[in-house]
Amino acid sequence: MRHSKPTADEIQALIDGQMHLEGPLLPILHALQEAYDHVPEAALGMIAETLNLTKAEVHGVMSFYHDFRKAPAGRHVVKICRAEACQSMGANALSDAVLEKLGIGWGGTTSDGLVTVEAVYCLGLCACAPAAMVDDRLIARADAARLEKALEGAA
């Protein structure tokens, strides 16, 4: 997915769209990330204004959660589970191989901007480990070859 440069009106519309909820801040951050693949810096002040919070408080909430990004990820996001059940089935070797092949570390993006690899702690596929996710697609009993194939399919 590609995302246009956010305008102030669009951001405000996304914020306003969640204001009917009790405790709307997380839904707002999710809506922004869904639209732009990250939470634009420009949005923080606008959220603060709308919710009657300080910008620091909004930043504090956003930065607490692993999901919210300050900048867009690569075109494809590969999430590899690092949790115990996946480790018992060789997740460490899998992530080592993938990260080495792409020449990046956890959270890194390849220099061509194509792939970001993120750690995830449990996808609920613990009886068919190791588990991974390529964009929105879940992959169980993952190996490097299957991840590569899924990436090609997603390109």
Binding site: L21, E22, G23, P24, L25, L26, P27, L29, H30, L51, G60, V61, F64, Y65, H66, D67, F68, A83, E84, A85, C86, Q87, S88, M89, V120, Y121, C122, L123, G124, L125, C126, A127, C128, A129, A131, D136, L138, I139, A140, R141
Partner: protein, 506 residues
């Protein structure tokens, strides 16, 4: 010809959608009229995607299916034919109360839900007073299935008796523990069951609004729950007049954002309110001051999804299952390096070794079992010499372990236990909310101390033990407080891997 293919995310991750496409293509090629129905998973994850064909004798199972296996489905004698699903050993040996419908019905069919006992419990509860409802739950002996094991009825009663203009019921569906997937399976496979349980709870306690707080890592469960809530609302199960009773109850799904600590109830409530997911000191209890400062029931998915069967069949029926103070059934989730991984619901009391060796069939790698971590990343490792331990809250406590959310992760003899102990500390450091020092600083020091041990410094072992005691006694919540369980149990079971002699460890 009616063919069932699970839409559970484990089945999809193992290729269910490709199998569906292959079935459609093959049917078209052969000119056979088919109906493809979608269900949840039966829990036999090693057989997923498990395809079922309806016959006059019952549903016949085939699995694990690949697109290449599809063509033979339309002919006699399939090499992956398993027989009638209900007659499979794994299914026959279970006592499915909470998961009675999961994998059988279409998750979006309220009609099928009702045909198998759904809404009977809610209709009964609607004729009861709040006190009668909470008494029924107390009598059932149901305890919190999230891990803490607190009696659900007592929690409900506290909220019921609290005075406030508004009350809430919050479903903790932030199932972040590795090795657990029961919440995900029931949300994807039988969402009305959770909706019914929450509605009974809401009406019993006087809460008119419920939240299902779940994980961004569970996109399928989020989508299924949202759609099921819409269906339930349209059918009058939710809304201002629940099943014509004049009582109101509304439900909403909220999605977390990748913070493990939000599975802790007070941290979850902060997150729900739009704050940093930091832990709150107790008291006040959430039952008195919970979501938005109002009295709030916070229960795990499985606790709430068990409520309908308690009201359908009666508290005594439920309490008759189990062992000692661990009453009823527990959905065991057998995971990790295991041959037959999946979900198996049974009465409390089954021995750990039987679960791993008999149900699980030993390791997937075929090597010897080294250890089993029970209860997620904060649960202890148990060795094969503890395989006689019956599965129950008190029985595991007696072994210095916990059952948690009943996930079991099996490791074979190649597991690096010092590495696993280090990972436990690393995970705690990554996920700590930062509110209390023993967890925030202790976890970082724990990683460093384990690195010293790995480098051959045996003198760091007593330091690690001391640090774990501080974390255990001084942390505000289970994240810092229970991280010592996996660390210390690994040290106790395999002191030689920590470069220490057994005496030094004890």
């Amino acid at each position: 010809m009616k063919i069932w293919v699970p839409m559970d995310s484990a089945a999809k991750a193992l290729g269910a959608e490709e199998v569906v496409a292959a079935i459609r293509a093959e049917a078209l090629r052969r000119g056979v009229e088919i109906e493809i129905a979608r269900n949840g998973s039966r829990g036999m994850i090693w057989l997923e995607p498990l395809v079922e064909v309806e016959t006059p004798a019952g549903r016949m199972a085939f699995g694990p299916m690949t697109p290449e296996d599809v063509s033979a489905l339309f002919e006699d004698g399939h090499e992956k034919a398993l027989g009638l699903t209900d007659e499979l050993d794994w299914m026959k040996r279970q006592t499915r109360l909470t998961f009675a419908r999961c994998g059988i019905t279409d998750p979006f069919s309220l009609e099928q839900y009702e045909a198998l006992g759904g809404l009977v419990g809610l209709r009964r509860a609607l004729g009861m007073t709040g006190e009668q409802i909470t008494d029924e739950v107390k009598l059932s002996g149901l305890r919190g299935r999230g891990g803490a094991g607190f009696p659900t009825g007592i929690k409900w009663d506290t909220v019921r008796m609290a005075h406030a203009d508004r009350k809430y019921i919050v479903c903790n569906a932030d199932e972040g523990d590795s090795g657990t997937f029961a919440d995900r399976m029931i949300m994807e496979g039988d969402p009305f069951c959770l909706i019914e349980g929450m509605t009974i709870g809401g009406i019993g306690c006087g809460a008119t609004k419920g939240f299902v707080y779940t994980r961004s890592e569970y996109p399928d469960a989020v989508a299924v729950m949202r759609r099921a809530i819409d269906i339930a609302r349209a059918a009058g199960v939710l809304g201002p007049d629940v099943l014509g009773s004049g009582k109101a109850f509304e439900l909403e799904v909220r999605v977390g954002a990748g913070a493990y600590v939000c599975g802790e109830e007070t941290s979850l409530l902060n997150s729900l309110e739009g704050k940093r997911g930091v832990v709150r000191a107790k008291p006040p209890l959430p039952a008195l001051e919970g979501a938005f400062g109002k009295p709030t029931v916070v229960n795990n998915v499985i606790s709430l999804a068990t409520v309908p069967v308690i009201f359908e069949k009666g508290a005594e029926f439920y309490a008759n299952f189990g062992l000692g103070r661990s009453k009823g059934t527990i959905p065991l989730q057998i995971a990790g390096n295991v041959r037959h991984g999946g979900l198996f619901e049974t009465a409390f009391g089954m021995k750990l070794g039987q679960i791993v060796e008999d149900l699980g069939g030993g390791t997937a790698s075929g090597r010897a079992v080294k250890a089993v971590q029970v209860g997620g990343p904060l649960g202890a490792y148990l060795g094969t010499d503890q395989f006689d331990t019956p599965f129950g809250y008190e029985e595991f406590d007696g072994e210095g372990a916990l059952i948690g959310h009943a996930g079991l992760v099996v490791f074979d003899d190649t597991a690096d236990m010092l590495g696993m102990a280090r990972f436990a500390m690393e995970f705690c450091a990554v996920e700590s909310c930062g509110k209390c020092t023993p967890c925030r600083i202790g976890a970082v020091r724990g990683v460093e101390t384990l690195d010293r041990i790995a480098a051959g410094d045996a003198e760091a072992v007593p330091l690690l033990t001391d640090l774990c005691e501080t974390m255990k006694d001084g942390s505000l919540c289970a994240l810092g407080g229970f991280t010592p369980y996996p660390v210390m149990s690994a040290l106790r079971l395999f002191p030689e891997e920590f470069g220490a002699v057994r005496e030094a460890a004890e």
